[in-house]
């Protein structure tokens, strides 16, 4: 069934609309705004469910920029619905939880408004059916998360974290945009598509043709890398994982939302979305796609899992673990076989369920125990019994232990790596090896998290409060979800994941099933190795933790690169600024003129223009006289002893130009030149008595020489420009059109709008044919005057300092 346009539009824009009203609602409801926001999320969830139950599949499209072929299109399919379910469903729980967690925190109106906008952006990303719409929503998630991560605006760490996530994710998005543009270009090159298209479903439909164009032009790998950069920065893949742990500076519900259902899932979603576009049905086992995404994903999975073991803070541990699990999904999508798509599709749901639960548990621990340091926590089971149950269930699922749901998707990944290795042989055996190696660390940190609830209480731990109901129910629901998926994985696969699997893999059936292993297959052995190795090494957790931290020094850390890069940029700009911005008009003029000459001459050279042939002077005597006077004036300017004399002689040149215009039959230009010249002269005279009599010290020889050369160069450039532009006469059609349209038509009624109706063609062009230019110009005049007003007034008040 086609999706209902109104409902899809409501799903995306209802959260934004609610966000706009949140400040007003906050005045009415105060802290209970959380429940208003949760209700909005619930309505959104209801709308998504409505589309799901109706079996919606297809595109709804609204005109946006029709002249460029860009539309506000939404594409509803299994993948879009799954991500929408996660964003809105987890959104309900997170917003409810916030009602308890954010009690007494500052800036709540902003918090809820941004969280709603965040949710809306994510829904937009999930449902976008147009590359431009996708990009816009994509960057909106970056913007809203910037505000959320930097929620505590006064704290240095929040500012750092917000900047970092913004810098990394937004710049990644820009790379992605370039990739999109290349895709659109490719769509224009193929016969399969009429014109160019931004439509994602249309691109996927013609995937084969697009791939051919890209491969033939050698752009296949560049486009993969560009789009991959967008996905990798958003989904915190190595080496861009550095922003994710810092993002925990945000209030915990935000972290939970960010890490489980929204922002970081966007990258995974993108990889899934473009997978059928780049991966042919009979793709090579180790094609470009696999080499890029499987390697990136497995590398991230392993590195981030190791980093998670090195974490000392529970949120940091979970943050690295998120990066690791996203690596798992991206790696799985990277494999060309169907197991990869199954693993990725299924793990999106599994990861969201257990990671959101764990983050909310971490929030409870931080809120009620007052610390997030792993070595200061232990034995929490006695104080937080219900939380302990949730944490254990979710941790075991995260560890990939049977019979929990995380096990099934991890098992599918093992299958994917195993078959890829078996088919490709040789070095491809590294895939299963790395997958197992990374999973051992996953096992270790998962068990470590669960162990916080067992063992002895450390001394420093004070009294641990019970969490309020609003904080307990959401993780409990998520925990129950984990149990439900674990108990009946095939139900969820049939209901949700099967169609996702079909959407991310070309030409596959929309279903698959998992089952508890009953025989000893190679991938079951991989699971057994993981669990046994993990169990054996768990007693040495602290030693492993210390060892990793000992190795992670200096350039080994991606953070080191980020910090040094940003630091280097800052110090470079601080060093360079005084050289460029000297505060002397003279410096700016020099560089401005230099840039003008270089750009103009460079442009001419690049365009390969040739100067028109010289055809002798054909000027009349009066023009020669006028030009001679102008020449004398120009020399007089150079030897003028004072500013006043200089300005007066300069105006000789100006007036001679005006007379030249008159002689050349351009009365409009001459009139303008005359009045402007007069006004400029008067303004000069006004300003002059504030200036020193002359420059004072004569500049040194080098400066004089440089200025002389520069002025000759500027003059030459202008000369060449005039020669070139007068040589290239405009399109005669345009001239004829304007001339024919300017006057009053021979036959006309009392009113007409298609002719200018004036006999002065210049003014008719200014106010009628090119009225929008004129409007822009007068806006500039008004703005310039306001700018001068502000500058001068503010200087008087000393506010420019």
């Amino acid at each position: 069934m086609q999706p209902t346009p109104e409902v899809v539009l409501a799903v995306v824009f209802l959260p934004f609309l609610a966000a706009a009203f949140t400040p007003a609602v906050y005045r009415l409801l105060g802290e209970r705004t959380a429940y208003f926001a949760a209700a909005v999320a619930l309505v959104t969830l209801g709308l998504v469910t409505d589309q799901y139950l109706a079996g919606a599949h297809g595109t709804v499209s609204f005109d946006w920029i029709p002249s460029l072929g860009i539309s506000l299109a939404f594409y509803v399919d299994g993948l879009a619905l799954l991500i929408s379910f996660l964003a809105s469903g987890v959104g309900v729980l997170i917003l409810t939880y916030s009602g308890g967690y954010m009690h007494g925190e500052p800036g709540q109106a902003k918090y809820y408004a941004t969280l709603l906008a965040f949710m809306g952006s994510m829904l937009g990303v999930a449902l976008a059916g147009d590359l431009v719409a996708l990009f816009v929503f994509w960057e909106l998630t970056s913007l809203s998360s910037f505000i959320l991560i930097g929620h505590y605006t006064d704290e240095e760490a929040s500012q750092y974290a917000a900047r970092k996530s913004m810098l990394i994710t937004v710049s990644g998005g820009l790379f992605m945009l370039v990739g999109f543009v290349l895709l659109v270009w490719a769509s224009g090159q193929t016969m399969a598509i009429e014109g160019t298209t931004y439509s994602i479903p249309l691109l996927i439909e013609n995937a084969g043709a697009i791939r051919e164009v890209l491969t033939a032009s050698g752009l296949f790998v560049p486009v993969l890398v560009l789009i991959g950069l967008g996905a990798a920065t958003k989904s915190a893949q190595v080496p861009f994982h550095v922003w994710l742990p810092n993002a925990m500076e945000a209030p915990t519900p935000v972290s939970a939302f960010l890490h489980s259902a929204t922002m970081v899932k966007a990258g995974v979603y993108l990889v899934g979305r473009v997978r059928p576009l780049f991966l042919a049905e009979n793709a090579a086992v180790l094609g470009d796609w696999t080499l890029i995404f499987a390697v990136l994903g497995l590398l991230t999975m392993t590195v981030a899992a190791i980093l998670a073991v090195s974490a000392t803070d529970i949120k940091e541990l979970l943050a690295y673990s998120t990066a690791s699990h996203l690596g798992l999904i991206i790696g799985a999508f990277g494999f060309a076989n169907s197991y990869g798509a199954e693993a990725g599709a299924f793990h999106i749901l599994n990861h969201a369920s257990f990671k959101a639960a764990l983050f909310l548990v971490a929030g409870i621990i931080a809120h009620e125990a007052g610390t997030r340091q792993i070595d200061k926590l232990g034995g929490l089971r006695k104080h937080l019994p219900i939380t302990a149950v949730i944490a254990v269930v979710a941790s075991l699922s995260m560890a990939g232990l049977p019979p929990f749901n995380g096990f099934y998707s991890k098992e599918l990944l093992f299958e994917a790596t195993y078959y890829a290795a078996k088919d490709a042989g040789g070095i491809a055996w590294l895939f299963p090896a790395v997958a197992v190696f990374g999973s051992i660390f996953t096992f270790l940190y998962s068990i470590k998290f669960a162990s916080l609830f067992f063992g002895d209480e450390p001394d420093g731990l004070g009294h641990v409060h019970r969490p309020p109901l609003a904080m307990l129910v959401p993780p409990a629901i998520l925990g129950a979800l984990v149990l439900a998926i674990s108990a009946a994985p095939n139900f969820f696969i049939d209901a949700l994941i099967g169609s996702v699997f079909g959407d991310v893999s070309p030409g596959e059936a929309h279903s698959f099933s998992v089952h508890f292993p009953t025989e000893l297959t190679p991938y079951v052995i991989m699971s057994i190795i993981t669990i046994v190795a993990g169990a054996i090494s768990f007693p040495f957790y602290d030693r492993i933790h210390d060892a990793i931290n000992a190795i992670l020094r200096g350039p080994v850390r991606a953070n080191w690169w980020y910090d040094n890069f940003v630091e280097g940029l800052t110090s470079t700009s601080i060093a360079v600024t005084p050289k460029i911005q000297t505060g002397l008009l003279r410096t700016y003029a020099t560089w401005g003129f230099f840039a003008f000459v270089a750009l103009a001459l460079g442009g001419y050279a690049a365009a390969g223009v040739s100067l028109p042939a010289f055809s002798g002077f054909s000027v009349t005597l009066p023009i020669v006289l006028v030009l001679l006077v102008a020449l004398v004036g120009a020399f007089a300017v150079d030897i003028a002893p004072s500013h006043v004399a200089g300005v007066l002689t300069l105006s000789i040149v100006g007036f001679m130009v005006a007379i030249f215009y008159i002689l050349a039959d351009a009365p409009d230009l001459a009139l303008t030149q005359l009045v402007v010249e007069t006004l400029v002269l008067v303004i000069f005279l006004l300003v002059l008595d504030r200036l020193p009599a002359f420059y004072g010290d004569a500049p040194d020889r080098f400066v004089s020489l440089r200025d002389g050369v520069l002025s000759v160069a500027v003059g030459a450039t202008v000369f060449i420009t005039v020669l070139l532009s007068t040589n290239a006469s405009p399109d005669p059609l345009l001239k004829e059109f304007l001339a024919a349209r300017a006057g009053v038509p021979a036959e006309h009624g009392p009113f007409f709008a298609d002719f200018g109706g004036g006999s002065n063609i210049v003014n008719v062009i200014l106010v009628d044919f090119r009225g929008i230019d004129t409007m822009g110009e007068i806006s500039v005049v008004v703005m310039a005057s306001l700018a001068i007003l502000t500058l001068i007034r503010m200087r008087g008040r000393g506010e420019t300092q």
Partner: protein, 157 residues
């Protein structure tokens, strides 16, 4: 800071008294005849500003403000006249924008200019009314206001 009258010669003051009204009338004439002859909003505006600038150079802004326009200084050091210029610029811009929006009401594209012929008028006979004139008037006021703000504020320094 600002000049007062008396610094300039009697000759220049006398000339200005005669010339400034002529310039202003010429400026307005340029504005009106712009549709059919050289002239128009921009040129007219620049000429009008030149007239004001002349008054300012010769008599000073204080004189212009107090004696001609009858505005008393507000004591903050800046001229209230400059505020009026700013308003004039904004109003000019508003006229231009509104006159360009008007065609939308008749289902024509933004910025469409039309021409209306009024016939059988006393004295004039037939009169051509171009809606472009409203736009030109907007240009005139925007440029006059903008340039006078600059001249007034720069000269005030």
């Amino acid at each position: 800071m600002s000049r007062s009258s008396g610094q300039t010669t009697v000759i220049s003051q006398t000339v200005a008294r005669i010339v400034v009204p002529i310039i202003l009338v010429t400026a307005i004439a340029l504005l009106f005849r712009g549709h059919n002859l050289p002239g128009g909003g921009f040129i007219g505006a620049v000429l009008a500003v030149a007239a004001f600038a002349l008054v300012y150079v010769i008599f000073g802004l204080d004189y212009l403000q107090r004696e001609i326009l009858g505005i008393s200084p507000d004591g903050s050091g800046s001229h209230r006249l400059v505020e009026s210029y700013r308003w004039m610029a904004s109003i000019g811009l508003a006229i231009a924008v509104l006159s360009s929006l008007a065609p939308l009401a008749y289902g024509l594209p933004f910025l469409t200019q039309g021409v209306l012929f009024l016939e059988h008028l006393p004295l004039y006979g037939e009169l051509e009314v171009a809606s472009a004139f409203a736009f030109d008037l907007g240009v005139f006021f925007a440029v006059v206001g903008g340039l006078l703000t600059i001249v007034g504020e720069v000269g005030n320094e």
